[in-house]
């Protein structure tokens, strides 16, 4: 009867060690890269959200400035045409009036928040209302092609 012996020769254990350690190193490296990327993505996402909220807050402050102007213009006239003329005259810097809509842009880095507010008729108690809050991102032009 043939009985085969499984012998562990010199060097076999070292070889197994090298394979196991290399595999574990690869696994550790991939885990570290994934965790780092995840963290970076979260941080960037948080920064972007923060910037968008800053833009919104700034637009709301500018809306308040515009409303001050509208209140002042309403004190002086009750005629819609004259009111619009007065508003155009008193409009804060950076804002433009077209028909009954005031538009302006809130810039921050490569993002712009385009704001549109509609002026309401002088008979109404409310002076203006938001029409649009649109965030536009200026992507840098790619200098490479596929």
């Amino acid at each position: 009867m043939n009985k085969r012996k499984i012998a562990l020769g010199p060097g076999a254990a070292s070889l197994i060690l090298i394979v196991v350690v290399l595999s574990l190193c690869m696994l550790a490296m991939l885990t570290q890269i994934a965790a780092k990327n995840d963290y970076n993505l979260c941080t960037r996402s948080a920064e972007m959200v923060q910037k968008v909220y800053e833009l919104n807050a700034q637009s709301e402050r500018n809306f308040a400035r515009l409303d001050n102007v509208l209140a002042a213009a309403r004190k002086e006239t009750t005629d819609m045409q004259a009111y619009l003329e007065k508003v155009k005259e008193l409009l804060p810097e950076g804002m433009t009036l077209e028909e009954d809509r005031v538009t302006w842009t809130e810039p921050l880095d490569n993002r712009n928040l385009e704001c549109i507010v509609q002026l309401l008729p002088v008979e109404e108690t409310q002076r203006a209302k938001w029409i649009s809050h649109k965030l536009a991102v200026e992507e840098p032009e790619d200098d490479w092609e596929w």
């Binding site: 562990l8 010199p10 060097g11 254990a13 070292s14 197994i16 060690l17 196991v20 350690v21 574990l24 190193c25 550790a28 490296m29 885990t31 570290q32 994934a34 965790a35 780092k36 995840d38 963290y39 993505l41 979260c42 941080t43 996402s45 948080a46 959200v49 923060q50 909220y53 800053e54 919104n56 807050a57 700034q58 709301e60 402050r61 809306f63 308040a64 409303d67 001050n68 509208l70 209140a71 002042a72 309403r74 004190k75 009750t78 108690t125 409310q126 002076r127 203006a128």
Partner: protein, 133 residues
């Protein structure tokens, strides 16, 4: 005699292999632990950001910020509101600014973990007032 010498060599090799394996395992465990901490930090930032966004939107849409904050479980502490969440602290500061034609209500929602600020979301709402001609 030859067999004995071979066994000794194998034993020494095995001891060396175990020693190196222990060393590399120690280093690798440290790497895995760092990765886990980083992953946890990312999760905390994400969770605080989501919470802060939800609160900011709720506050923007509400006329009574105190009720909204109380409904979330915030408690008033020295002029600001605080809520301890799982692993981080949320703080909300409310400021009212009177203008000629209305009120600017500003909120600052901050997520803090220990000494580190995770996120700060500013939110502002303008509430117009009726102005008599």
């Amino acid at each position: 005699m030859k067999n004995r010498s071979r066994s000794n060599t194998l034993l020494i090799e095995l001891l060396l292999v175990i020693f190196f394996f222990m060393c590399s395992a120690g280093i690798l465990v440290q790497i895995f632990a760092t990765a886990k901490l980083k992953s946890k930090a990312a999760h905390t930032i994400n969770a605080s950001m989501l919470d802060a966004e939800n609160i900011a939107e709720d506050l923007y849409g509400s006329d009574d910020p105190d009720t909204v904050l109380a409904s979330y479980g915030f408690t008033a502490q020295d002029g600001s509101w605080e809520l301890q969440k799982d692993g981080y602290l949320l703080k909300v500061a409310v400021k009212n600014e009177e203008t000629e034609s209305g009120t600017i209500r500003s909120y600052e929602i901050t997520g803090v973990q220990g000494e580190e600020t995770l996120i700060t979301l500013p939110s502002t709402r303008y509430i117009p007032r009726e102005v008599s001609p």
